[in-house]
Point group: D2
Chain length 255, copies 4
């Protein structure tokens, strides 16, 4: 799919992986929507091709309304959504004090990462279905963001891994649901990237993870690595139904 | 781990895979608890080693209470939980009518299968932690039930696959959380088994699936195949952190 | 499949994983053949149900002849083969001295582990095809031994991982080739087990690996863990086409 | 890694996936070497940035000599190798006539695809090690070509799947071997692409495969899809140790 002139929604587009992705799409002359739950916007002066919408990905109402706003501004031309909106969440199944993990924490992480991602997918896809197909009948592309934690989940990551495993496993059935409409679905599973999310980790945990890197021996770059992969996945029509790790060769054993 | 004389909770133990598992555990002279959300019980006359508790796996309160009841009857000796409680749930991301999947369906399936399973895991594990270790320091074993749909999700299975992918991906971090307490975690991912769940499928869907079987060309047997695998996984101390398909060689392509 | 009275070939049955498997099969009153390339035999006094054959798994001639010997002694009743015959092989793609790995080392490891395993499979399967089917049309079962190195290959394991990845990936097509004859194929991927193979490792490497174990914090037991899994896989007719890790929860990151 | 001005070897660069890759690299102003075992060359008039070398990837001598020729023409500047050289190979473990697969066929496929690929990797990597590092210490990138048959191997693909599984599984240990030299390793696992290799399939087999495609419902394009992915993988420094399917969402069930 060509990027120029088309409209792409980036959830969590105001920071980290989403921000770099949104910026790269803007460079390539797409219309870009940053859709997130907090207020400030990083795109001052971009008003022509850019729209910031405050909306919670878990909310049917807010996302439905957001899609309408997008169409009002850019027309019936939503061709992609990149689901970078998400949260971390640390806690062991049973803590050192013998207490079980707070169920609400688990629910919260699954709700935002898995249910929120699915909510955006289904609503954006239903809009894409109504739009005219492009070349070869392609109508749109969905890029979801899982994590290497779907395969290499660490101690304390049970909630996060569960949510990211859900995202990974829905890739194929969603592909199968949406193929007849010409909508592709690809999931990216990043290793450690230097973003606000990872900078919340304490130094020791971060160092332990970085000790496991191969080449290059550093976290990934949102700008130049993550976002370039996303651009490639949007452009390459034969990438469909895949789950792709981008992790500099890291495999997290016991830390 | 030895089975005889130990106490095992089977969620969904009143039908299908759970029923066969509970029966096999009874044969091996374990204490068995069937924990499910409906009323009737299949274990008349088994009162000595058997307990039926009506409880919803998604409820903190009901599962906490259930664990207390188990301990009152059988002592502080809960050594295993087999999470067979779960539900199906069919619906495409975007239906033929162009409508997005009902978000509540997705939430419901994820809530029962993923959050419910995790809820039982964390509460049972916290109880196991308090109990005296057995040989080699082993305190217990958790067997979760995913599905081949975590890898081979079909059209219409996006909710189910998401929930089962969450279960699969939490296997490793849960193993890592619980190892120091001597608790193992293994996930079984069954292919088609002849149970109430699969008998809800219409004939055409069922036939399409069975056309994909290799040898033997039939659904799996709850009694003799699924339950024997579970018994093996309880007994074999080196099985930990694994995800195991049992599917007669089926890989579900596009049906 | 029932074990008692049936005939099973165990390659590499004279040591390590193969030895324990052969011994367990003998306990269960099977006829057992230890097929290996070295001379001494551990089964003195077992002559009734046991046969030792010196044969190289990579040799068409020697394995063909071995199968004939088996049939002469036990009749047309070969129901299983467990391919434990294999070798290690350490060396980096490019060594610290800048030299490329000796191609002959790579070839040797691939030849024994992958080609040797396949050679035995195809010849034994061709014999099974000629035999009368058992219950449900089952004619036999092939258990191949890969390694967790097919997924977690370490520095220096490129040859070994290549050979074990070949074994893992041929599981499914071999299952599909042999299903119509009622022959199942399952691959076991062991983590570290205390056998002659692993005792060749230096203490430091061994310790690094064992530091990565979860519960139990020790190598696996050939007798009681590996061999019991094999017995289960022989008996459980719905296990077909699977690749099963048995590793105590280990995932080998960067050591 | 930047492409312009650097030197890349493409094995099998004279047809199919390799040809498109070589052509794209030439467009991006790289020096390109087509290294294959047959004679004709498709690059007439490209003499400045292009070199054709007839060499068998399985031969230590021929590849060693080829690397010397490359250096003589383009200098010590080999920055990448894309291993497209490979062959098909069809045959069941046991044929319909009851005969086992010819061992030489299995050996031949494994020898070219797996051992040949490794041979080129080790020799090219040893050359890269001697060269000056680029930005961030990067010295080179190896792109190997597996196939979706490493996971979805069909009836009749046991040899091919074994060879491609070997390639997939050596990705990680080779990454770990070469990281300290700043050399990355990535494996691409293509689904069906319209190349000479696939055009050898009979119409019925081809149709069966294409019936399994999702969107787009056609084979992949060497030019525009496969080669663009390769370019991306060369350029994206954080892609290391990955195995990437490019298959339009196909998952091959039982055909
Ligand atoms: N950074 C890493 O190392 C890493 C690794 C693997 C996966 N990921 C994943 O990548 C994604 C992006 O992460 P990041 O590192 O850029 O983190 P980030 O915290 O910078 O970005 C997450 C964004 O999601 C938004 N968000 C959170 N909840 C939301 C909600 N309910 N509704 C709308 N927006 C919401 C936040 O406002 C924020 O902009 C996440 O899904 C994360 O799990 C990150
Ligand atoms: N049958 C198959 O082919 C198949 C295949 C793959 C996976 N599975 C999985 O195996 C598990 C068992 O399935 P089954 O085929 O035996 O189906 P089943 O419907 O016979 O059993 C499911 C059981 O779960 C119980 N349950 C459902 N919701 C519950 C709740 N909220 N609280 C407590 N109990 C609850 C039900 O009462 C029932 O006893 C399920 O998780 C299912 O997804 C089944
Ligand atoms: N021990 C472990 O930790 C471990 C881990 C993963 C996988 N494995 C695999 O398990 C299998 C058994 O290993 P083990 O640990 O018991 O080692 P082992 O060295 O004790 O056994 C290997 C056996 O294979 C036989 N053998 C080797 N080459 C042969 C040939 N050409 N023809 C016939 N027989 C031959 C040897 O005689 C020996 O009996 C091997 O394939 C090994 O790669 C072992
Ligand atoms: N085309 C597909 O659908 C497809 C799918 C999956 C994987 N692949 C893989 O992609 C790679 C390229 O395949 P293709 O479709 O372009 O096929 P192709 O037959 O057009 O190209 C293969 C090339 O390899 C060369 N080659 C073969 N043996 C060689 C040897 N010993 N030494 C040097 N060169 C040798 C041939 O000369 C030819 O140029 C192969 O490894 C193939 O297995 C192809």
């Amino acid at each position: 799919m060509y990027i120029k002139g088309n409209t792409f929604i980036v959830t969590g587009g105001g920071s980290g992986l989403g921000l770099s992705t949104a910026q790269e799409l803007l460079k390539l002359e797409a219309n870009v929507i940053d859709l997130k739950n907090t207020e400030e916007s990083f795109y001052k002066g971009r008003e022509k091709n850019f729209l910031f919408i405050q909306a919670d990905i878990t909310s049917e109402k807010e996302i439905t309304k957001a899609i309408q706003q997008v169409i009002e501004k850019f027309g019936k031309n939503i061709r992609g959504v990149i689901n970078c909106g998400g949260i971390g969440g640390v806690g062991k199944t049973v803590g050192s004090n013998g207490m079980p993990l707070d169920l609400d924490l688990f629910k919260f992480v699954v709700n935002v990462n898995l249910i929120g991602t699915f909510n955006v997918c289904r609503l954006v896809a239903a809009q894409m279905v109504k739009q005219k197909p492009l070349e070869e009948g392609e109508r749109g592309v969905i890029i979801n963001v899982s994590s290497i934690a779907y395969q290499d989940g660490q101690m304390g990551q049970v909630s996060y891994s569960a949510s990211k495993g859900g995202i990974a496993s829905m890739t194929l059935p969603m592909t199968r649901d949406l193929s007849k409409f010409g909508i592709r679905v690809v999931t990216v599973a990043p290793g450690p990237f230097e973003t606000p999310m990872i900078s919340h980790l304490n130094e020791r945990s971060k160092q332990k993870i970085l000790n496991q890197t191969e080449f290059p021996a550093r976290p990934g770059k949102s700008d130049g690595e993550f976002n370039k992969l996303v651009i490639h996945l949007i452009e390459n029509t034969y990438m469909n139904g895949e789950i792709i790790r981008i992790d500099g060769g890291i495999r997290l054993g016991k830390l």
